[in-house]
């Protein structure tokens, strides 16, 4: 069974078609890189997977369910782009990771021993135990990303969506995060990440999807990122994403 199954997905904002007949699937345990220029529809695709925009046509199935059911089961987590987070917000690293456990708690979100243990584990896996009580604005770019990855781990999400995880992250942190993501997929989790970093994709990803409003190619990175495919994806006329 595919973890992500997208068929004929078409999303438009007014007259602008952000996605046009997008078809692809991602199987369990894949580390899939979503490659495309700015405005190629990557963010819209993430929004569609999360159920934040309604498609004009086509369907999204996650774990064989519609996306609402998959969300309610806590199967999906989303690691936002750095600029979409309010870094002055009065929460610590630990507070953010604990938010991953909300789906496991009652209405008033009172953490049980199991929740605290899951948070401790997640913090350890991303090597942030020592910084657990630091306010999130006082972290480096890489530490910020790891905080949100830890939230997904604590959530026990089976599918992680990462939007540009390496923007504003130094090379050392990038390697650390890539290794972490690789480990997470070998444990059976599925990861879809959008990236500009073409060089990293063949090294780390097990699958690549080349997007330019529709899927130009999908499959093994070496087969997808060919010169002629890339010319098509990156040489085409640019459209600004709304």
């Amino acid at each position: 069974m595919s973890v992500i199954q997208v068929q004929d997905l078409t999303v438009s904002y007014g007259a602008l078609k952000a996605l046009d007949g997008v078809d692809f699937s991602v199987d369990a345990g894949e580390l899939c890189g979503l490659v495309g220029v700015n405005g190629s529809g990557k963010s819209t695709l993430f929004k569609s997977l999360m159920g934040l925009v309604s498609p004009k046509r086509g369907s999204v199935r996650l774990f064989g369910h519609d996306q609402l059911r998959a969300r309610k089961q806590g199967l999906i987590t989303y690691v936002p782009q750095a600029e979409d987070v309010d870094w002055t917000f009065p929460v610590s690293v630990r507070d953010v990771v604990m938010m991953g456990r909300y789906g496991h708690m009652g209405r008033s979100r009172r953490p049980a021993a199991a929740d605290r243990a899951a948070v401790d584990d997640a913090l350890e896996r991303v090597a942030l135990t020592d910084l657990a009580h630091r306010q999130i604005g006082q972290l480096s770019g890489g530490q910020k990303k790891r905080t949100f990855v830890a939230r997904g781990i604590a959530q026990e999400a089976e599918l992680m969506l990462l939007d540009e995880p390496f923007a504003g992250v130094d090379v050392t942190s990038e390697k650390l995060i890539m290794n972490l993501l690789t480990t997470l997929t070998t444990e059976g989790r599925t990861i879809l990440m959008s990236t500009h970093d073409l060089a990293g994709v063949p090294t780390f990803c097990t699958q690549a999807i080349l997007l330019h409003h529709s899927v130009l190619a999908s499959g093994a990175p070496a087969a997808v990122l060919t010169e002629s495919n890339l010319a098509q994806a990156f040489g085409g006329p640019r459209q600004e994403e709304k």
Partner: protein
């Protein structure tokens, strides 16, 4: 006169102890809610809803129902109208807010000006905490307890809403409903505080305690407690100042809050001006 009589004398009067109860209830609810308004960037929304209830209050006095009923109806109506304008036009949200609340406020003024004898505009605009009646007191306390309970029970979800809507959505939480709930609680809070603060100054209580607490701490839990403490302290200080210096009570309460804010701006541990200057000096 010794200090104890100085402290207890004002509240030997029934009207002053009623004023204290109402001011404390309002301060507590407003301060707690203010933490969310500050973090969500809803300061203007608070101002808008407090102005928009004017016609509701005026109509309530005219037809003789508790003012909370009319105020709440117009508060929620304003929320609805602002939401409708935003979703059906491409106007920016502060524009939509500006159009709706000024129109409703003007409607209120028009109603009051046609019926000057029944409604005391001054009391509605600037508060009348010293003229609280028993039914008012009960109304305010019931609303305060209700609003505060919901806020505190759902504080984690509401914090998540303010911090990361997408994650809340990813967990299957209905963020739209939660958003409306918070707006509804804002309307309830405004209604609760109307008697103590009046329409014009209630926004101070909806912003300043949260803003002050935000500068002191980097933890949401501490921010809530600090804001509540500041709100209560300013209500008490304000009433003393009002009694002994014969100053308008709502003005005195807001001035107390502004003083706390000014001290914080200078002296807060990390984000205060003095700490920042020291940090620059050390660097």
């Amino acid at each position: 006169m010794n200090i104890l009589t100085w402290l207890t004398e004002p509240f030997a009067y029934g009207f002053m102890s009623n004023a204290l109860t109402v001011a404390l209830a309002a301060a507590l609810v407003c301060s707690v809610l203010s933490c969310w308004l500050v973090l969500m960037g809803w300061a203007l929304m608070g101002d808008a809803i407090s102005h928009a209830v004017l016609p509701g209050v005026a109509i309530s006095y005219l037809v003789g129902v508790p003012f909370a009923v009319g105020a709440l109806a117009f508060g929620l109506g304003a929320v609805f109208l602002i939401g409708a304008l935003r979703s059906t036009t491409s106007l920016k949200s502060d524009t939509a807010i500006g159009v709706v609340f000024t129109a409703l406020f003007a409607l209120g003024l028009a109603i009051v000006s046609k019926t000057p004898s029944e409604v005391d505009l001054g009391h509605i605009l600037f508060g009348n905490v010293l003229g609280v009646t028993m039914p008012d007191l009960v109304q305010v306390c019931v609303l305060a307890v209700l609003t505060l309970s919901v806020l505190l029970y759902l504080r984690k979800d509401l914090m998540l809403l303010a911090f990361d809507k997408v994650h809340a959505h990813a967990l299957g939480i209905n963020t739209r409903a939660l958003n409306f709930l918070l707006l509804g609680l804002l309307a309830l809070t405004v209604v609760t505080s109307l008697q103590a603060m009046g329409i014009i100054l209630v926004v101070a209580m909806l912003i300043i305690p949260g803003a002050t607490a935000f500068l002191w701490t980097r933890s949401f839990g501490r921010m809530l407690m600090l804001a509540a403490g500041l709100g209560v302290a300013s209500a008490v200080c304000g009433l003393y100042v009002s009694y002994y210096l014969d100053v308008s009570a709502s003005a005195a309460i807001v001035l107390a809050q502004a003083s706390f804010f000014a001290v914080t701006y200078l002296a807060a541990p990390e984000q205060g001006m003095i700490a920042r200057a020291r940090l620059r000096g050390a660097a």
